[in-house]
């Protein structure tokens, strides 16, 4: 899991698994709600180069849940009013203690959209719902005990 001097690798196969951290409890095998999906940019972990799902919990989230999805599950070409088309791609963003760390980025046409505030919220709402439907929960979040 340590980077140990390894370079980044921006090649993602369509069937590569990505892992997303959840802070809401769902049953294993369930599809999470779109309400539990953040809008990009957000972090995931990749499976290539031996990335285990649990690495997405590094370094500070040992009790969180995990949902997995494939790169091909990322929504593509969601259109906003004005017929602007948006798509999403993963980018490998290795960290020293988490080599498999990656991010999901938004593209407006072929240009990366850096500021999410410039994109219609309804585009993101649709993105979050569509991505949630491509996800499967593989580890349940441990809700804190009620006080």
């Amino acid at each position: 899991m340590l980077r140990a001097g390894r370079p980044d690798d921006q090649e993602f196969a369509a069937d590569e698994e990505l892992y997303y951290r959840l802070d809401v409890a769902y049953e294993v095998g369930e599809r999470p709600s779109g309400l539990s999906v953040r809008k990009p940019d957000f972090s995931v972990n990749r499976s290539k180069h031996g990335g285990a799902p649990e690495y997405v919990l590094l370094p500070d989230w040992p009790n969180h849940g995990i949902a997995k999805f494939h790169v091909k599950g990322l929504p593509h070409k969601i259109k906003s009013e004005g017929d602007r088309a948006y798509s999403w791609k993963p980018a490998h963003a290795p960290e020293e203690k988490n080599y498999h760390h990656s991010e999901i980025h938004t593209y407006k046409g072929t240009v990366r959209a850096i500021k999410s505030s410039q994109i219609n919220d309804l585009v993101y709402r649709e993105f979050r719902q569509r991505l949630s439907e491509a996800m499967i929960v593989i580890r349940s979040f441990a809700e804190p005990a009620a006080e």
Binding site: S36, R38, D121, L122, R128, Q129, E133
Partner: protein, 188 residues
Amino acid sequence: MQQQTSTIVPRIYMRSDGRFARDHFRVPSQGAEKLQKGTISVPVCEGNGKSATKVKKRVLFLVHDWIRSFGQAFDPIEKSLDRIRLEVETWRRDAPAPNTQAFSDAEALLSRLKIKRFRPDRVLHSAEGGIGFLFRSGRRYADFECSNAGSVTAVVSDGAGHVEAWPVETSFIEQTAAIDKVRAFIES
């Protein structure tokens, strides 16, 4: 001429802003008897009964029970919302904690869901900051999101590729129309 006696009964009514408020109103005792027999289902009239000296407790209990049964189906949802509210004090999740705006909008929306007797399957915090109510039926899915920024949006999905998202204004008419749309989608 026989003097008409009156009875004070409580009412929960909807204000012009769509929120619920509580007060009392006066009905002729004859009307109160009708209320006990269930012939008056929802007491709605103007006036507060502050000058009244007599309150018939049995009528109060009847109305109270009616209101309780009306809301009981929503108890688990309200408890979940309360749990989220309590947790805000010690929030340690990835998502931003829901703020007072989100709770206020969620409560207003929940009151309208109650009126429509359309119970969400779950209430949960949003990954983007806010409160959401979700509904599932087979592959069909819908939710409302009350964001920390003060917006309310809805999403429906048939689970087979059709996804629609739209903004929901906070007025009573807009929200009940959105609830009707979501319900028709989920129950179709």
